[in-house]
Subunit: 325 residues, 2 copies
């Protein structure tokens, strides 16, 4: 929150009011079980943890219906990846998923969700979904249903069994905003039956990949995976694109391009909690006195610490994860 | 079977072979819980009973997803109607739903079914469903999903948990043939994963309504409901349109129009089991010696017998029905 991961929102002020008044609200987080979890994903977990610390009910969905529709992944494989890759690391990263106020579920195993998705699907049509998602008439029907399942994921915490209507906040990338708008629209249409409050959302930045492009699960050279050993992680950090100049001389004269540096971004988002320490790095980079090699060395060291801590917790976390769903 | 209720089929010969060889097969029957069950519905129950006597696995679905999509009926109300109106009478009419080889289920409560419907939905698209069902772009998505749920209903008995791939026969009205064709198509597309055998189907006649038009649940003057008391049923029989002539004289000269007589149809399909007795009625009608009043009196008497028998069994049947789903 303090580091500017979130750059936009819809009705977050209302969530904030509830936090200040210590009233009930919920946060929805989800994962599409595919590939490996990387440090970019940690930014979402950090947000969920922040909300949990503020007293939010946590609703975490595993999008196995979506991974089946989009990637032909069997429900068994989706569960396996969700447990061993995602939930294990969520827990190792500090989320408490065993608390009463937490609901972790597989979409395919959640009847209440499916009922709600079905009811939502009665409130929209092909035209509307085409306008939002660009579906064509040859889009398969599973794919057409997927957004309605997501709508239900977001509305689920407002059902009676979770204490009834309440504000829900969904941290998403801005590319997910159409889902939020569709959900708000359908919440309105289902209002008579459920009294839904339109969900709030926040829009977050993504961690830049090591090469300066997008960090991607499927491109190992761009991402540091949470299951990699600490040495591999440290080595990868050293390959990251920095904001360094062509030569040391130029760097000393012009200063580093700190806002265009993957290493500095990792400091900001993951590795350095102390604001003063961070400010000093920023200052020293800009004035040319700090060298990229020094930052890389420091980042490697910190990521080894972070990864050692995560890995220490993984065994226990995996056991907990296995019992959740 | 002997009275020509069925007038067409698709691959029924293969079902017949299995019956003769006493091999496994299944029959799928379903109900959309709406309104009241009438004696026309009994013709389907009679077919299911015929298959059950031949050793078929019985799979009976309650289409509560469809009644929600098409009629906004809540799942609770759908269950209530299914139990008290349909299943109770199915049992009272002689179906044994407590046997091991029977699966009665609510669509909305059947995860396996929903998974299968979802997988089926990946194998078709809007274009194809539009061509079959005439959907438009403003058809709601729940409605678009409904046929895929029916496809899954028909394929369900072939899953491993019911003993794996087997021939399934579905007794339907001819208006349901598009479902069967869609199901055969999707069975083929899911073949790699499931080894599905394309389902067989039979096409049956419907009982004519009392007024000579369609017998309809929603038009009390056309239908005799199974929950009506015997006297009401008997009175209704007397209102039925017969094949009688304008005058008794004309009737004696020309004979009755036996094939255009609702009472005679009731004899054929429901009330008279003895072929010789039926043949005599037909003969005496055609030669003008039988009067419509006599037939109506006989039909009233027989329907009182039938209804008394059904009603005697209803209390016990209702208790069994309540424990099924």
């Amino acid at each position: 929150m303090k580091r500017g991961v979130i750059f936009g929102h819809r009705d977050f002020d209302k969530v904030n009011n509830l936090i200040n008044k210590k009233e009930d609200f919920a946060v929805v987080g989800g994962m599409m079980p595919s590939g490996q979890m990387h440090i970019g994903h940690k930014m979402v977990v950090d947000q969920l943890k922040w909300y949990q610390d503020k007293g939010a009910m946590l609703s975490i969905l595993i999008a196995d219906l979506e991974s089946y529709a989009a990637r032909d992944m069997s429900f068994e494989k989706a569960r396996d990846i969700a447990v061993n890759e995602y939930l294990t690391n969520y827990i190792a990263l500090g989320l408490d998923l065993e608390e009463d106020n937490v609901n972790v579920y597989l979409q395919s195993k959640n009847d209440t969700l499916r009922d709600l998705a079905f009811k939502a699907s009665k409130k929209t049509n092909f035209n509307e979904l085409k306008a939002i998602y660009g579906f064509t008439q040859s889009t398969n029907i599973a794919h057409i249903q997927a957004p309605l399942v997501q709508v239900a994921d977001i509305l689920l915490p407002q059902l009676e069994e979770f204490g009834g209507p309440k504000r829900v906040v969904v941290p998403v990338g801005v590319d997910q905003d159409p889902h939020i708008r569709l959900t708000r629209d359908i919440a309105h249409k289902l209002n008579d039956e459920y009294g839904f409050i339109p969900p709030s959302s926040t829009y977050h930045r993504f961690l830049t990949g090591l090469s300066g492009d997008k960090m991607s699960s499927s491109k190992p050279s761009t991402a540091i995976y949470l299951n990699e050993d600490s040495e591999t992680a440290a080595k990868k950090v050293k390959t990251a694109k920095t904001g360094g100049r062509e030569s040391l001389k130029e760097q000393q004269e012009l200063g580093g391009q700190v806002d265009n540096c993957v290493i500095y971004e990792m400091f900001v988002y993951h590795l350095i909690d102390d604001d003063k320490e961070l400010e000093k790095i920023r200052h020293d980079c800009l004035d040319g006195s700090l060298r990229c090699g020094d930052c890389k060395a420091k980042a490697s060291e910190l990521i080894v610490e972070m990864f050692d801590e995560i890995h220490d917790k993984q065994d226990e976390a995996r056991e907990i994860a296995n019992n959740l769903i």
